[in-house]
Amino acid sequence: MGACDTIIKGTARLQEQHLVVCEQCDAVHRWRPLSSGEVARCSRCAAVLARGHRLGVHSMLALTLAALFVLLIANLSTIVDIHLRGAHTAATLPEAVRLTWRAGEPVVAVLAAITAIIAPALLILLRLVMLLPLAFGCAAPYFALCMRALHEATRWSMVEVLMVAAAVSIVRIAALANAQPGPGMFAFGTLALLLAALESGGLKHLWREVK
């Protein structure tokens, strides 16, 4: 390509001015600290610029640890219990993905695995990797790389959709057999709530914790 990478220098003056550029329209704003629960919107296009966060590093860490345990429970326990004439099946999500692969839809199986299992797991693990050192007052190794991976994982994680899909599938199964929600279903519901709480905590303010 012949393109050269230039790391912009001489930005110290800009950083002292504490500016925020709107990601959606380029309008430049001056930063001021937000109080808890406050939302700053772009004066031009009304996109959310920043939120005042209620959670500090330690409470984020606590939530992330909780999410990790719930993630394990969600993936290891039954989503729906099905009874039909004395026969019984109880499948977990990884098992359902594996059977979809075997039924001749490997692409869909991989897609479901990425969006419902891998991305949520990655997003929880990456947050742990970054928050644990921050809680002890130092920056994580590869902080910048982790942040970028975290953005991707957050974009492709769809646990809340899976939660609704599980409810829909119970109704659909009822036409064929007797179906009861299992513990995995409630775990996925809890996980969706925990991830929503973590995501509302935002990502960018983690940078402010790094000296």
């Binding site: 050269c4 990478d5 790391i7 912009i8 930005t11 800009l14 925020v20 550029v21 709107c22 990601e23 959606q24 329209c25 380029d26 309008a27 430049v28 001056r30 001021r32 004066s43 031009r44 296009c45 009304a46 996109a47 989503i79 099946t89 499948a91 999500l93 359902a96 993905v97 594996r98 059977l99 979809t100 039924a103 839809e105 869909v108 897609l111 969006t115 419902a116 902080f143 910048a144 942040m147 970028r148 953005h151 974009r155 769809m158 959709v161 899976l162 609704v164 899909a165 599980a166 829909v168 599938s169 109704v171 659909r172 199964i173 009822a174 036409a175 064929l176 057999a177 960018k204 940078w207």
Partner: protein
């Protein structure tokens, strides 16, 4: 936070990093220089605009429109029990929920599988078209429309998960079983392609002043 137009040197373009929010000033360069800029804090690539945003948006959109037809016409799954085989398309599944009197769920699946898909395709087509043809028209509403598309985009995965869960859980051989069908692949592809199209579109284009004579 206050708008700030004049107090910063306006000759340099200010770039905000997508990942860490650090603001840097792009050095003045010739237009066609191949220089890539990186954020001083996190070393992420900085762009004034997403590269080839409109071309990529149109390409993903065209692909998703092509696949939209098989996604809705081909069956997405077959259910088998002792008495008969039923194949379902997307709309057939919604119809079954409705006849089972699960009206709320039928409405949710209808919105997720049909409304969200159409909204994404029509809205992104409109956004990309207006950037080229009607740059001043309803900017605020177009900016809002883009944010809606971004927020609801992943809900169209709903039916893909339903089939994966059913295929994984209903497996009593001839008594009752569920198999995914090829339409599911087309449907999942439309979900991913429209999400990629949403991501390829650069909302900053909405606010860009057209070049004189361009």
């Amino acid at each position: 936070m206050t708008a700030l137009a004049d107090s910063v040197d306006s000759s340099a373009q200010l770039l905000g990093c997508e990942y860490c929010g650090t603001v840097s000033a792009a050095p003045a360069t010739d237009d066609d220089s191949p220089m890539r800029l990186r954020c001083p804090r996190c070393a992420n690539l900085l762009y004034a605009r997403k590269p080839r945003s409109l071309e990529r948006t149109w390409a993903y959109l065209a692909a998703s429109v092509l696949l939209y037809v098989p996604a809705n016409v081909l069956p997405i799954m077959t259910t088998t029990n002792l008495f008969r085989n039923n194949t379902y398309t997307i709309s057939g599944g919604i119809g079954e929920l409705w006849t089972d009197k699960a009206y709320g769920l039928a409405a949710i699946v209808f919105v997720a599988s049909i409304v969200v898909h159409l909204l994404k395709i029509v809205a992104l087509g409109l956004l990309a078209w207006t950037v080229q043809r009607a740059p001043h028209w309803q900017r605020m509403e177009r900016a809002r429309l883009y944010r809606v598309v971004e927020t609801v985009g992943h809900w169209s995965m709903l039916d893909v998960y339903v089939v994966v869960l059913l295929a994984g859980m209903v497996r009593f051989d001839r008594l009752a079983s569920v198999h995914p069908e090829p339409g599911l692949l087309a449907f999942a592809a439309v979900v991913i392609l429209t999400m990629l199209a949403t991501r390829a579109f650069d909302p900053r284009l909405i606010w860009q002043e057209p070049k004189p004579g361009g």
